[in-house]
Symmetry: C3
Subunit: 212 residues, 3 copies
């Protein structure tokens, strides 16, 4: 169990991460000249889609935003607020990328915890973490009619899987739960920020022959 | 409770709306030179996808077409029939747009009712209505490899949310259920048709700076 | 009931089909220069997505890969192995297409069996078979930002529906279950291979008028 203080901190951080994911999505919506409704919807799908897909796959109901509908207001509101501050968004770019990285590792740990609570096997726990951390962005890219960035760039999914694996490993050392969360999230965050800073990426598979 | 006569009318209208959504989807499939199987599948996904996504998100089983498989025949059959009458389709354009608008408000009210029956909070009821009314078209656009029209044009999602909100408001006035349904649907239908007629749309969010 | 020997054969064939679907998806990922993580994820989604969507629609939990997580290793491993043997992939093209056809009819029969086990009506059984056989490829095409091949080409969905229908028909003749599976799969496989060989396809619906 996490301590009450840690849980409160994680709950607050979760709201910040949901808002940050929605704001990033709103900027991408703006690049495609979506209308305000589209901005709002894309923000909600991006911020809450990963957890929703995880819960549907694991039959874990009710979904987070069905049980806590204020999450829809946070995500939709943050997306709309982005329109107002769009002029300043460019200067806030660093903060966005940082909060997006926080969201990635936090969502991953939350996803692992849901699967752990359901007694899932290790591979499924890692998959649940990665789905929670990454699928929101995949849905965003599908709705924007693009090949998901996840499949092509940066150590996004890799950071998520490594964060989950480290979290499970530290948990088994019988250290306090809070410590396991802190270690996994900080390590994952560091790796993601380093990958962004130095442009690290996985090798690409390039196949140019005709398939048919 | 709706009166039996109203329920019968709504059930009949539902079949008409399912067929109309499938036929609109079929015309879009024809624009992309899909084969007959693709036309049939796109019709089913468009007409029944919104309700299916709502039921999956709310854990409301069985899905409509699992419990009432004739809905698959209505949607698939209507899509295929569109191929036969394609030459006349252009002249029927006004009827299609009208029936599509009927489908939007009817699906919205049905979706709200499902969430109300599950005791969902107000925001989730509105979301369920909008998902039922709009997601079929989003799936259609994804399968046609386009940015969903919903995110870019006309008051489609807005009409759905306003229809749902009006429905909930009138329900609380302790008027007969039938009246609440009629008021919400007629007002939503009027708004949608006016939006089509006068090209009303939400303001767009245009953001042109590089994100990375 | 299938005999134990048949069940063992089908289980082994299922693993081969999962690997084959993942390898085909990997080659398509390579054509889009995805990175290794993308190749791995696209392989898993393609190979296991059809069954997952079927189970979500029918509320049949746990999903196959949640109950048998080694399926994720088989699919992901096969996709990654494809990178190593990519140079030889062109010469293995015939084998890929054959195994893909085996996967189509096998997945179809498995999907029908799941729906039969849930007591679904006939149309839903056929839909479950087709979803299991075809939706993995649809998800693959969506993630690759293409109009699904299923909607445009070859007798893919048609083979699946006919395989399912023949399976249900033979089952009603009160022959042994093993025989029904063998007849349906072999007939479906033959039809699919003939369609590939002779380029059979469904007629297309071409509609060129403006919709709006």
């Amino acid at each position: 169990m996490t301590s009450p203080a840690t849980q409160e901190f994680l709950d607050a951080l979760y709201l910040v991460a949901v808002a940050a994911e929605a704001m990033s999505a709103a900027l991408i919506a703006g690049r495609r000249s979506m209308d305000w409704v589209g901005v709002c919807l894309l923000g909600c799908v991006t911020a809450l889609g990963g957890g929703s897909v995880r819960d549907i796959l694991l039959d874990h109901h009710p979904l987070s935003w069905v049980a806590q509908p204020h999450l829809l207001l946070v995500a939709g509101g943050a997306a709309l607020a982005t329109i107002a501050i769009a002029r300043a968004a460019h200067r806030l770019r660093g903060i966005f990328l940082f909060l997006d990285a926080v969201g990635l590792v936090l969502f991953t740990v939350i996803g692992c915890n849901v699967a752990l609570g359901l007694g899932s096997p290790t591979i499924v726990v890692l998959a649940a973490g990665m789905i929670t951390g990454c699928v929101g962005g995949v849905l965003r890219d599908i709705l924007c009619n693009e090949i998901p960035l996840l499949f092509r760039a940066e150590l996004y999914a890799t950071v998520s899987v490594l964060t989950g694996a480290l979290y499970l490993y530290v948990l088994r050392l019988a250290v306090p739960h809070d410590l396991a969360i802190a270690v996994a999230m900080l390590a994952g965050l560091a790796l993601r920020l380093l990958a962004l800073r130095y442009g690290w990426s996985m090798p690409k598979f390039v196949y140019t022959r005709d398939l048919h």
